[in-house]
């Protein structure tokens, strides 16, 4: 095949949150160039957060991502509470977990039905998919709606919610509101079960790669707001040690910093990593369903969509459990006063671990901020997988090869929305 040049170009990589580009060059069967380009017009959050009041941070960091604002708000409040020495009532902690369930549900239902599933039916969009799989799409939209309803209950609106603050929430939900939501979750549980069965029936490409999976692990919960940082190759440390074990570096072709485990290399974060490392933390119903529809742990990135569907069911089940166990906290938020300190936190955003570190001065103003989002951590891993996949692409037709690359990238649910301009996919064979 040497001497023949083939270029595969896709105008924009579609159905990801945001835009970027992939350049892949294969010469004589060897990958000579591979770049997942992310041209995020930088918005400099870490720079403009300096000098802002700690109390303003949850509203500001929400704007990093319209799809996972709760993840940014939760990580920020946990880190800031550590900096400020604030201990939060377990009943408020439970409400935060409920809030986060809403985001997992909304974000995962969006990804599974609107962004990822069309690939497995040869469709270009959810609108095309709805012609063939109307019931499944409507079910997905209902699940997404339920996730948004949870966020709205605690946050007032689903995009950039306004209810979360340092110390708790600005308002507690009324019992009648919780009852309405609880009823919606009954229907959502049936929908979620049907969704998992639907996704488990997709014909996923077979693939087994050497991958280091990284996620949080909690003593007795499926991880969300806290836990130790663990990996499939033995990493096990406290959130506070994140900056010692993970190094960020800049590459020329991306405005999102790459990340690697010190002394090793790239790694995968997100639903597949969480499930692989925490399958024994699932509640009984969800664990049984998970066993029925796959092997966990596994190292086929394409099964991320199944992991995401299982987490949809988990989020519904967990939200119902939290509402059933709900006891109103004494007050919506713990009172606090400014003091100097440093605090870090890691939480599990829908797309994987999200790290925040804040330094606060005696005046309550932010002195320094550092934020490491999941998608920037996955960049090097996505590139590595594409590199491995590249030689086999040449045996496929151009549309097939292109679709496979896109599907692989989409299986990470990259949120380069906070991160990019346009994603052009070019596969060049020389």
């Amino acid at each position: 095949m040497s001497g023949r040049t083939r270029t595969i170009t896709v105008g924009n990589l579609a159905r990801v949150e945001g835009e970027g580009a992939l350049h892949l060059t294969v010469e004589n069967g060897q990958v000579t160039d591979l770049r997942l380009e992310i041209f995020e017009p930088p918005r400099f959050f870490e720079a403009f957060l300096r000098g802002r009041e700690a109390a303003e941070v949850p509203d500001l960091v929400a704007r990093i991502c319209g799809i996972c604002p709760v993840a940014y708000q939760m990580t920020a409040v946990h880190a800031l509470e550590r900096a400020l020495g604030i201990a939060v009532d377990p009943r408020l902690r439970a409400l935060r977990r409920l809030f986060y369930c809403g985001e997992w549900l909304e974000s995962h239902a969006l990804h599974v039905h609107l962004l990822a599933a069309p690939d497995y039916f040869g469709c270009e969009s959810v609108v095309d998919l709805a012609v063939r799989e109307r019931a499944a799409v409507e079910r997905g939209l209902r699940l997404k709606q339920t996730g948004n309803a949870i966020i709205r209950l605690l946050g007032g609106r689903s995009v950039h919610p306004v209810g979360a603050c340092i110390g708790g929430f600005s308002r507690l939900p009324a019992p009648a509101e919780l009852r309405t939501l609880r009823a919606a979750l009954e229907r959502a549980r049936d929908d979620a079960l049907a969704c998992v069965r639907w996704v488990a029936g997709f014909e996923l490409p077979e693939r087994h790669a050497e991958i280091e999976f990284v996620a949080l692990r909690h003593d007795d919960e499926y991880p969300m707001n806290e836990g130790r940082l663990v990996s499939s190759r033995g990493l096990d440390c406290a959130a506070e040690d994140f900056e010692q074990v993970i190094a960020e570096h800049q590459v020329l072709h991306s405005t999102a910093l790459h990340a690697r485990i010190v002394g090793r290399g790239h790694y995968l974060v997100g639903p597949l990593a969480r499930l692989n490392l925490n399958v024994d933390r699932l509640p009984p119903l969800v664990a049984a369903v998970a066993r029925d529809c796959g092997r966990w742990p596994n190292s086929n990135t394409f099964t991320s969509i199944v992991a995401r569907a299982i987490e949809i069911l988990f989020a519904v089940d967990e939200a119902a459990r939290l509402i059933d166990a709900y006891e109103p906290p004494a007050r919506p938020a713990v009172a606090w006063t400014p003091r100097a300190g440093r605090g870090v936190a890691i939480t599990e955003a829908p797309r994987g671990i999200l790290y925040h570190a804040f330094e606060v001065g005696e005046d309550g103003l932010v002195r320094a901020a550092r934020i490491v989002p999941p998608t920037s951590q996955n960049q090097a891993q996505i590139e590595a997988e594409l590199r491995e996949l590249a030689p086999s692409l040449l045996e496929r037709t151009r549309p097939d090869a292109t679709r496979l690359c896109e599907t692989l990238i989409r299986s990470y649910d990259p949120c380069i929305s906070c991160a990019s301009h346009f994603l052009r996919l070019e596969i060049e064979q020389r």
């Binding site: 945001g18 400099f44 802002r52 509203d59 609106r157 995009v159």
Partner: protein
Amino acid sequence: MRPRLAVVKFASCDGCQLQLLNAEDELLTLARVVDIAHFPEASRRQRPGPYDVALVEGSITTPADAERLQRLRAESRHLITIGVCATAGGVQALRNWADVEEYKRAVYPHPDWISALATSTPIAAHVKVDFELWGCPVDKDQLLAVLRALLSGTTPGLPTHSVCLTCKQRGLTCLAVAAGTPCLGPVTRTGCGAICPRMGRGCYGCFGPSDQPNLPAFTALLAAQGLTPDEALRRLRGIAGWAPAFRRASEAVAGAEAEKPA
């Protein structure tokens, strides 16, 4: 022929275009009445212009984006900005009062690899805009109302009064009066349904300024509530800080502070 719709993103968080996908009950109907010609987040099928309606999210922060916007304007009959980034520069316009080169050094090990304009500016600073929809994020129902108006050939009309009036309409207790809570409601455009006061906290101005806001009176109120000039400045320089009315008010506060004898 169905009108051709494009959804285009510049520097932003994706939240405003997500509101289209959050219209769960209307999404499939919308796809029937308009031809979604370009909406990369939703479809792999992306067709070139011309477009009847272009919904634009995000602000202009790089030279390349400034050029891309010119091309989009040339091929769009109606260009509508959705959200505070596109309409007023967004939260990333906080750089407009800072040194972007210092910002690059603060965030990136190789600041010289980063291409960024010194300012984040709204779409209307670059091209003619046919309608501006405020909000961070835009309200889903307002977005659908604008689309409905455009599709039926009428001019979209949305209320421009302050959040204050919405609180009164909903019978909410005034936080500023009853609790002395700093609240941007008196000078902020309605559209959110007064969610912050409803959630028991002060409005932080994410829908931008209302029509003819009385900002001198408002900054005096903040001072009377005990806010220092720096605290007032931060309230005004938030999500929609670069909107002209908020910007003039914050620069007046900063100017008065600078003139004070040491």
